[in-house]
Amino acid sequence: MDETNKKEQTTTHKIGIYLWIWGLLFVLSFFSYMVDWYQFQGMLRWSLILIFMFLKAGLIMAFFMHLFWERYALVNVLLWPMTAIACFIFLMVAEFEYTLFSRLFYFFVGGVQ
């Protein structure tokens, strides 16, 4: 018993904050479904999808996964590696554009005559 008494009681948060985040996630999911329902196209569609996606991901990580309340030592170890993923995305965008160009040029145009 002594051991358990010595441990600090982990602080919990009011239930309201979880219910708020929960509600917001529902609303954001509904909005992103509406993007498809109304068949928005082009830049409007892509930007709306990305905005709702990042808002949802941010809310889940910050409040459901408690990152908002964690110490920076943990938060930074988790978030900085994401920049590597961003770099990888940029590399692969360049790669797929080149592949697409090659396919169109050699399979459809017929290459250099």
Binding site: Y18, I21, I49, I60, H66, R71, A73, I85
Partner: protein, 236 residues
């Protein structure tokens, strides 16, 4: 949530605190249970796995000159004579968010040592996950019966099937594993293992409600991945 204070010592907040924690020649994640730190490291590596899948999907879809299948038609459902786009996927999304919310509340009630409430909420989370997997199985069998294969499909670019089965399959596996653990933890919570500090099956670690938070991290991560799959695979 890490404790800002351990044995009377108050930690500094912000980046100054981060510098202190990292340079302290001691444990770096202060006030964070080792199991939780390990779960975060695992989730970080899992993030890279899912990122590689989604990036390869981006590359495959971007580099094909063939028309990509229209997701809102492929995943549409025929309900009461009306064609509703993406209906099943929308329901799956809402089910997963609901189960994520019940899990967040289970963690909170666990830390408040409210055994019954915590157990019921974990059970609700498990059932939500089970419904999700069930609907995914329905979706898979529907697409397979329509002739979607990893190497071909009747809707457009052949790569569609392989990316679909790989990405949703890997995510579904994560959900299934999560459901199994949720049921185990629901049992352990109801049995009072976390109140008595009973040791687990494969560990000498004493039972503690922090385990519910660790399980919760995994479950929220599964929901997090679905947010990205929903955006990139189904909506894009």
């Amino acid at each position: 949530m890490s404790n800002p204070k351990i044995e009377g010592y108050q930690f500094k907040p912000g980046f100054r605190g981060m510098a202190d924690d990292t340079a302290s020649d001691q444990t770096m994640f202060k006030g964070v249970h080792w199991g939780k730190a390990m779960m975060w490291i695992f989730l970080l590596s899992d993030t890279f796995v899912f990122s590689c899948f989604l990036i390869s999907y981006m590359k495959g879809r971007g580099s094909t000159p063939v028309e990509w299948p229209n997701a809102s038609e492929v995943f549409g459902l025929h309900v009461f004579g009306v064609e509703v786009p993406l209906l099943l996927i929308a329901i799956m999304t809402f089910v997963l968010i609901t189960s994520s919310g019940t899990m967040a509340l289970a963690v909170k009630y666990g830390y408040e040592k409210n055994r019954k409430m915590c157990g019921w909420l974990i059970l609700a989370t498990a059932i939500g996950g089970l419904i999700f997997v069930g609907m995914q199985a329905f979706e898979w069998s529907k697409l397979i019966s329509e002739g979607v294969r990893p190497w071909e499909n009747p809707f457009g670019a052949a790569q569609f099937g392989s990316f679909f089965f790989m990405i949703t399959g890997f995510h579904g596996t994560h959900v299934s594993i999560g459901v199994i653990f949720l049921f185990i933890y629901a049992y352990k919570t109801f049995a009072g293992h976390y109140d008595e500090g009973k040791r687990g099956w494969f560990t000498t670690m004493k039972g503690d409600y922090v385990e519910i938070e660790i399980l919760g991290l995994y479950w929220h991560f599964v929901d997090l991945v679905w947010v990205f799959i929903f955006a990139f695979f189904y909506l894009w």
